[in-house]
Amino acid sequence: MTREEIIQAENLVYKKPELMNDVPMHYCPGCSHGVVHKLVAEVIAEMGMEEKTIGVSPVGCAVFAYRYLDIDWQEAAHGRAPAVATACKRLWPDRLVFTYQGDGDLACIGTAETIHALNRGENITIIFINNAIYGMTGGQMAPTTLVGMKTATCPYGRDPKLHGYPLKMTEIAAQLEGTAYVTRQSVHSVAAIRKCKAAIRKAFENSMAGKGSNLVEVVSTCNSGWKMNPVKANEWMEEHMFDFYHVGDLKG
């Protein structure tokens, strides 16, 4: 069989989601963001919601999320994405509304907005990228930084006596009456990526069915911030992050 014979529409096994454009991504090679962006784009298209979606991007590494997915976006102030999304969804109830936030945005400066939007049962989905570090500003301590983990602002390792403990926002969210579906996923292997995609799909479907709010945490790597190569970062995540941030469904 020749190359030309193989490259036929009926033999297609994979293609880039149509909602993803060709703008070069600013993410570091090995970063988890690109994979999660792709999953979001695939799920929106598979649900046929291309013409009915409003995304809310955060302050943090995903600040430019709006550059890569061809949907309407609002860029929220640091931590305020769930408040912005609340208004979008309440005012346009037939739209698919989601936020895309990092750990600093969601679990630190935006803790109040996150908890209250989830507790009100807003019919939105919050996608929460937890890489235990502030990536965009150069690797400072995050609310989710593990005890003992070294960052630019805890260079000798996170010490609970000095810095307090890492915050498990997803466990908190699972206790709230307003949440329909709360899950923790990862995207470090093909199997994990597939599970994560199914979780995003379920969350988006819940939002459209009016079942309440949905939180999909994605335990992620930040190889630049962690100062490791991508392969090592994935290994480190499995070894250390999963011990503290258990992967799986917490509710719904």
Binding site: E50, K52, W73, A77, A112
Partner: protein
Amino acid sequence: MEEREVLLMKGNEAIAHAAIRCGCDGYFGYPITPQSEVLETLAAEKPWETTGMVVLQAESETASINMIYGGGGCGKRVMTSSSSPGVALMQEGLAYMAGAEVPGLIVNVQRGGPGLGTIQPSQSDYNQATRGGGNGDYHLIVLAPNSVQEMADFVDLAFELSFKYRNPAMILSDGVIGQMMEKVVLPPFKPRRTEEEIMKECPWAATGSGLKSRQPNVITSLELQSEVMEQRNLHLQRKYKEIQEKEVRYEMQHCDDADYVIVAFGSASRISQKAMDMMRARGEKVGLFRPITLWPFPEKEIRELAGRVKGILVVEINAGMMVYDVRAAAQYSVPIEQFGRLGGIVPDPDEIIEAMEKLKK
């Protein structure tokens, strides 16, 4: 309620009724004295059952203003209200709205400060309202009502201006206007815009629909390239200049033959009006100039006025804020003094007359 019926109500209640009547899509707010009647009235009126207007008590003023950002960003007519300490919390969101050119209405029923201050009336947020208040070079369109009637009338006006210029607008009221009861004729009913009308009025909005026939809309104030950011700022400045040229509003009483004028806005202008009437009854030629838009400020009109009077008394319930704008507008051509009370004390007409007598000397 019948159309054009004369009613008696508080300024805060008038704001709520006017919002329902002028096609407002959503109100998001947090309780704070002396403006809580806005949310209370809306909650009692249940407009979500009649016009479909969304009413939500947010978890904070920070959340409220970001809900306004989100709602305005997707093309809806949305508003919030608060009082001074709450409006201080909203400054971040206001700067984002100005930067991303998101329309929306913010009502500030001012109370005395600084800090937690007092729950009594004040006009000491003048600088914050007219200078921007948050980070960056920007302006809000600021309307200052001085009656319950104007509280009602300015809701629709503020929305119109806000959407016309894609700029947040503020009604800068105070505890006097918010709490006092007066006669009011509510504005006629205007239906909420349909989806089609929103798309037509706001082609820039992140509504999520129509993407097959247009580029995605992104509401953002971020730009890392300084050259592009400077252009964006210059665009904003051109817009502000246009607003300054076209949208100045003011009221003059007895200014034609006046030797001296009082310049006052909001509740201070009502008290000043009384003081003027008392002085006029004694044969003194005193006039009153009332800026209705505090930004854009009626500079040209005050300059002209200053050219034909012997002196100006600026009355404001603060330690002297608008007086700097009046002096700059008048280019220091005549003596200009300020009188105000602080900490929630409202001046009385006799004090204003006394201040005018001092100015005349």
